[in-house]
Symmetry: C2
Amino acid sequence: MVTDTVTAKPEPRPARAGGKREQTKIQNRETILEAARKVFAELGYGATTVRDIIRATPLASGTFYNYFQSKEEVYQAIRDEVALEIRPRLREERAKAKSIDEFISSTFRTFFEFVARDEGNFRAIRHNADSTRVRMDTPEVLAGFTELREDIEKAIADAIFPPVDADFLMAAIVGVAFEVAERMVIGDNHNPSEAAEFATALFMGGVHKLPHRKNAAGTA
Amino acid sequence: MVTDTVTAKPEPRPARAGGKREQTKIQNRETILEAARKVFAELGYGATTVRDIIRATPLASGTFYNYFQSKEEVYQAIRDEVALEIRPRLREERAKAKSIDEFISSTFRTFFEFVARDEGNFRAIRHNADSTRVRMDTPEVLAGFTELREDIEKAIADAIFPPVDADFLMAAIVGVAFEVAERMVIGDNHNPSEAAEFATALFMGGVHKLPHRKNAAGTA
DNA sequence: TGCAAAAATTGACGCAAAGTCACGTTCCGT
DNA sequence: ACGGAACGTGACTTTGCGTCAATTTTTGCA
């Protein structure tokens, strides 16, 4: 490891707690994030440039780089905000679970309710210029996946779950959660309860246990 | 709709079937795609530039734009090749299905076997500089999703499936397929049969029917 | 309060890659 | 074999990125 005293960067003294410096720093960061959300939603992630973001801001271009390295990092920050809010809730719910059913249903219910509430953000982020669909999972999101796998492993150790492949099960839950959430938001069915019931039924008993459609009229 | 005769673009006459023109066009396109595959694998998708791609080619920079609009479009073309190859196979398998079990298991088996065989491509495309995970679904891939939903609806009409929400079921299958495929490729378990058995068991009977681990030694 | 140092902002600048286009070359139909 | 159309070429223009010296704002301290 290189701990060169000469080359080491100055490491700015931490701003005083309630000071003006700290104040504007928080303010500016939020200004940039807000502008980014707006511009991403308008132009789509791929098409927006760092310049587009700062243009939607009273700040100068150089200032942007005091806060983020690139538009990717801004995107990450936006996603991370969401991930960091939902992860503790999910862990808490799963920790309380005394059975498989509780474990699965609380996970899906919490997730879908959160997505439904956060729908604006969700849509803004998803929007893309061409018809290509993009999903980016930041390290914070991926950490959430790992937490799920850990919880599954703990549940197996506690004999709440049978000894299945925790990695695959985690992947299956994540896959269903994200894809079904997308259908919920995109489609005309914005009901998180229905989504949660569907996903839970699938994991609890497979296709045969899925809820039947109210009106059997097929789209085809 | 604007059908301006003056402004309308020339619409080049289609090259003769076996002619030299057509020949080199196909050739050049493939040269670019091949170079792109190599460079994406080397530098990662995010880091490669259009120039990097043509530099790995005897062609001039201007020529690139005769074939593709951007590196995104090259990426799409690569993905589309895969999608266009696997989609008919999946349809065929599902069309033969006489029961839910056949429908589900053939879908997963075909998909995972394809991914395992195509693993090099899969990894190359996935390779990314930062630790962010990206998944891009091109229109051709999305069309594959729609085909799955159509097949599900047909199966419901034929009373092979109960009248469940076809949109959600499609989403669930897609989600499990992609996420589990990723674990299969990334992890140390490159066995498509195991992945297919896991996913099929989940959809046929839920968590309780999942195969148990061979060696019960947990990772945690 | 006044002052010097530290921190942060600013926008112009240098650079790298994107995308265009006038020109030359190759191919095609007659 | 000739004329025109399609294609390839690479220099050129444009666009956006990231930096940095100069400037402004804030802070700590006497």
